[in-house]
């Protein structure tokens, strides 16, 4: 598709993709207000360019893989006879293309350690890469050493790439540099910053830039007239940049930096309308909850840093995890720590509570940050360091582990909570929690590709749903209350309705929409269904997954019916949103329809007689070479086989649950098109007066009974219980921890600090002063007493010296 040089240039310069939005952030911040569109144009332009580059990169990458496949035998041939691993003269580009291995471009960020020679470590692709992602000149950083040593580095890199022929080594280019150089120069080590291009990161590049672009466009209408319009766009740019920066991380240090930066953007955007305390509270809650998880991140990364022989390099860490250099016990501890970070960032139980609150931010932000991109950072990080988790949690051959359990719990819990929300965004937020749980569940069962694929598809349909919700709210005068202000919107805003329907269908896993494919793959990955294989036998997670499949359909049906059916309950006439809002919706709905086909099972492809090459494309493209080798190595994971029967069962389950809810609301609306739920007639009316009427309505009563038994059973006690647990216990814990900290702070400050410690300080002063006062009293002014003291002291001292000493 592209010439080799272009491909190479593209891979080496993906840093431009995050750099552009970063530049745009700075420009908007300083000049945005003076521009005709208040800075939005800069943001959009930068994202357009970034998106174009991302698309080019994506295609280049795909082309890369395709050509690698067609040449794979050749590549094997090249390495086959070379058992002694002598360097093969092969350029990095060639090697990368040949293997589909990650392409790493890094510069040294800084280095610490004893080394007088000041050797610059790490691979330096070319001097153009000597700029970091934010457009700052990096020259000082390198102290002018880079130029003269450039050539040498290129050599290193080529050698390293040569080793890339070895199956067990993920990125030997780095291993060669980072490893041997560190040994040769004592403990000096460098922290590099750069870009790592592989399937996973390319996938995310595409998703982030794509959705970011749509959200930018959408926002020009949605937040039009906002007093902080410019700042809003500035932060959107910053977020995009930070997210891309994180996605492209080559080192865990870079990952941490990106991780925190997206967090702060999230903070700023959740609190966009900070005049109201509820919003800033939500922002604080989001940030602080994430900070809690970050404890795990910092500690986990520290553990890995030392375990991997003082390096932050992600490929190096993975490599050492795979080849058993890092003991399993260490990996387990690191994985548990990192899990905490995943729990906070990706909204897993029990650190998920910030995510629904984060809906206080503008809706496009929710779509971009709190549905499609930032919240999947945790999932992404698991994928990045998958060997660590896989081996650390002993995923292979197991039936449960921490990750799968947390994922399972989250997915069910989140789904249940989505039932009782009356705020449409909250529904979607809990749904996001639930779906993130699904992804984590998948990864916890070893279904790496399924997890990543779900991440990919979810981004589109959930963004579609959020933007749809935004559109609805735009129509309903900025209310998100489904019960109070919506209903019957189908008639008023058809575009929104249809896109929302598609999104919901995708989310519920209705074939052939995107969610169906990814969800099915996850369920297969449990390895429980007959003839699926998989990594273990994850019964409990499988059950969780099935329950969620049902619940998802049910709560989305409820949401749709409450919003779009029945009769409009709000005031004024709602209206369809403008083109800038609906166009992104349509595009996203389109994506929600098509992206699922990217990873069709080969059986399905055969069944329809499509070309074999169309099967599991996503898997081929996204599973990085490193993980591929991981797949085939002794302790690697295996792919599960797809199962048609499971797909049918799961779909039926979803349809049944959804259908039950639909039936419930149809019945309800038939009774009162403005009602939102049954006001429980039995309990509220005086039996004597209303008995006849009740009998007349027996049909409805039965209806209520039946539907209530199915939908209400979930919706009622269980969901309420979950909700209660969520609001009172979990939130209580979060708030309690906060209150406890403040209380403890007060105690420490008021009692320990001010009374005890300061007391000692002041007390010693006072006692000295008191002693002075006492001694002063001995100075009576009586000269005879003075003389007595004088002679008495003399006598006493003399006596002591004569008799005692």
């Amino acid at each position: 598709m592209f010439a080799a040089e272009e491909v190479s240039w593209l891979f080496r310069n993906v840093w431009l993709i995050p750099a552009l939005p970063a530049l745009s952030f700075v420009l908007i911040l300083f000049f945005g207000k003076r521009l005709p569109f208040k800075g939005a144009e800069i943001g959009i332009a930068s994202v357009v360019v970034a998106f174009s580059l991302a698309v080019l990169t994506t295609f280049a990458w795909i082309g890369n893989i395709q050509s690698a496949e067609s040449h794979s035998e050749e590549a094997i041939f090249l390495e086959g006879p070379d058992g002694e691993q002598t360097p093969i003269v092969l350029t990095a580009e060639e090697a990368g293309e040949a293997r589909g291995a990650p392409i790493i471009t890094e510069v040294e960020w800084f280095s610490i350690g004893p080394d007088a020679n000041k050797v610059i470590l790490g691979t330096e692709g070319n001097s153009d890469a000597g700029h970091d992602e934010d457009g700052h000149s990096d020259d000082e950083d390198e102290d002018g050493h880079s130029d003269d040593e450039d050539a040498g580095h290129d050599d290193d890199e080529e050698e390293g790439a040569g080793f890339g022929g070895d199956d067990n080594v993920v990125d030997v280019a780095f291993a060669e540099d980072g490893g041997t150089v560190a040994e040769a120069h004592g403990d000096r080590f460098s922290i590099s910053i750069g870009t790592l291009v592989d399937g996973q990161s390319v996938m995310m590049l595409f998703v982030v830039t794509f959705i970011s672009l749509l959200v930018h466009v959408y926002s020009t209408d949605y937040v039009k007239g906002d007093r902080r319009f410019t700042h809003y766009f500035a932060f959107l740019s910053l977020f995009t940049s930070a997210m891309l920066f994180m996605v492209l991380s080559t080192s865990t240090m870079q990952l941490i930096v990106g991780w925190e930066l997206v967090g702060v953007c999230s903070f700023a955007l959740i609190g966009h309308w900070w005049e109201e305390k509820a919003n800033s509270d939500a922002a604080l809650k989001a940030f602080l909850t994430n900070r809690v998880g970050d404890i795990g991140l910092l500690i986990g990364m520290s553990i890995l840093y030392f375990a991997a022989g003082r390096t932050f390099s992600i490929p190096r860490i993975n490599e050492l995890a795979v080849n058993g250099t890092i003991p399993k016990g260490t990996l387990t501890i690191a994985a548990v720590c990192l899990m905490a970070a995943v729990m906070s960032k990706s909204g897993q139980f029990i650190l998920h509570t910030w995510l629904p609150d984060a809906m206080a931010g503008p809706t496009p932000v929710s779509a971009l940050i709190h549905a499609a991109t930032m919240v999947v950072a945790g999932v992404y990080m698991i994928g990045r360091l998958y060997p660590v988790f896989f081996i650390g949690f002993g995923i292979a051959g197991s039936s449960i582990n921490l990750m799968a359990f947390i994922g399972g719990l989250t997915t069910v819990g989140g789904g249940a909570l989505a039932f009782v929300q009356k705020d449409i965004k909250k529904v979607l937020a809990y749904s996001t929690v639930s779906q993130l749980g699904y992804m984590v569940l998948a990864l916890g069962m070893g279904a790496y590709t399924a997890g990543m694929f779900h991440l990919f598809t979810h981004a589109f349909f959930k963004a579609c749903l959020f933007l749809g919700a935004g559109s609805v709210s735009h129509a309903c005068h900025h209310s998100f209350d489904m019960k109070a202000d919506m209903g019957g919107l189908r008639k008023y805003m058809p575009k929104t309705f249809w896109t929302f329907m598609i999104g919901s269908g995708a989310l519920a896993g209705i074939p052939p929409l995107a969610g169906f494919w990814s969800k099915d793959e996850i369920l297969v990955g449990a390895g429980v269904w007959p003839n699926t294989g998989g990594n273990g036998t994850y019964y409990l997670p499988f059950v969780f997954g099935m329950i969620t499949a049902a619940m998802t359909a049910a709560y989305m049906a409820r949401t749709i019916w409450l919003t779009f059916f029945g009769e409009y309950r709000g005031h004024d006439e709602p209206h369809e949103s403008g083109a800038r809002i609906t166009t992104p919706l349509i595009i996203l709905a389109g994506m929600a329809v098509v992206v699922g086909f990217l990873n069709m099972p080969s059986g399905f492809v055969k069944f329809f007689g499509a070309p074999e090459g169309l099967a599991h494309r996503f898997e081929d493209w996204v599973e990085p070479a490193g993980v591929s080798t991981f797949v085939t190595s002794d302790n690697g994971f295996t792919h599960a086989k797809p199962s048609l029967s499971l797909a049918i069962v799961a779909t039926l389950l979803a349809l049944t649950a959804g259908g039950a809810v639909v039936a419930y609301y149809r019945a309800l609306y038939a009774k009162d098109s403005k009602a939102t739920e049954y006001t429980d007639g039995v309990m509220s009316r005086i039996p004597g007066l209303r008995a006849g009427h009740k009998f007349l309505e027996e049909k409805y009563y039965l209806d209520h009974l039946y539907t209530g038994a199915i939908a209400g059973g979930t919706k009622g006690p269980l969901a309420r219980a979950t909700d209660w647990f969520n609001q009172n216990v979990l939130d209580g814990i979060v708030n309690g921890v906060g209150k406890l900290s403040v209380g403890l702070g007060n105690f420490i400050y008021n009692i320990i600090d001010q009374k005890a410690i300061d007391g000692v300080v002041n007390g010693s002063g006072n006692s000295a002063s008191g002693a002075g006062q006492f001694l002063r009293g001995m100075q009576t002014g009586q000269v005879r007493q003075y003389a007595t003291l004088m002679f008495g002291a003399t006598a006493v001292v003399a006596a002591i010296f004569i008799f005692a000493v």
Binding site: Q779, G781, Q782
Partner: protein, 99 residues
């Protein structure tokens, strides 16, 4: 053998002198008590001088006698000054300055 008796005498005088300084309220008597101590010193010096066959002690004693005269002269002047202002030479009453 002889020395001890002189030293004893001096010690007794010293003690009497100290007693006087410590308990007498009358300024003049205090000064006189101090003279007693000085005389005890003189006895000591002379006794040692004789015992050690060294003239220095006696010379010292002469100096002490002379200086004691000066001291008492100054002392009496001050006592007199106090008497003029207070009409009393009770040293116990002089306690304006304390603490």
């Amino acid at each position: 053998m002889f020395l001890n008796q002189f030293l004893l005498l001096a010690a007794v005088l010293f003690c009497i002198g100290v007693y006087g300084v410590l308990v007498r309220k009358n300024g003049v008597l205090v000064l006189m008590s101090i003279e007693l101590i000085l005389n005890a010193v003189n006895i000591n010096l002379v006794a040692f001088s004789a015992f050690n066959q060294n003239i220095d002690g006696q010379v010292f004693a002469l100096f002490i006698i002379a200086v004691a005269a000066a001291e008492v002269g100054v002392g009496l002047a001050i006592v007199l000054l106090i008497y003029r202002n207070r009409r009393s030479i009770d040293v116990a009453e002089a306690n304006l300055l304390k603490g």
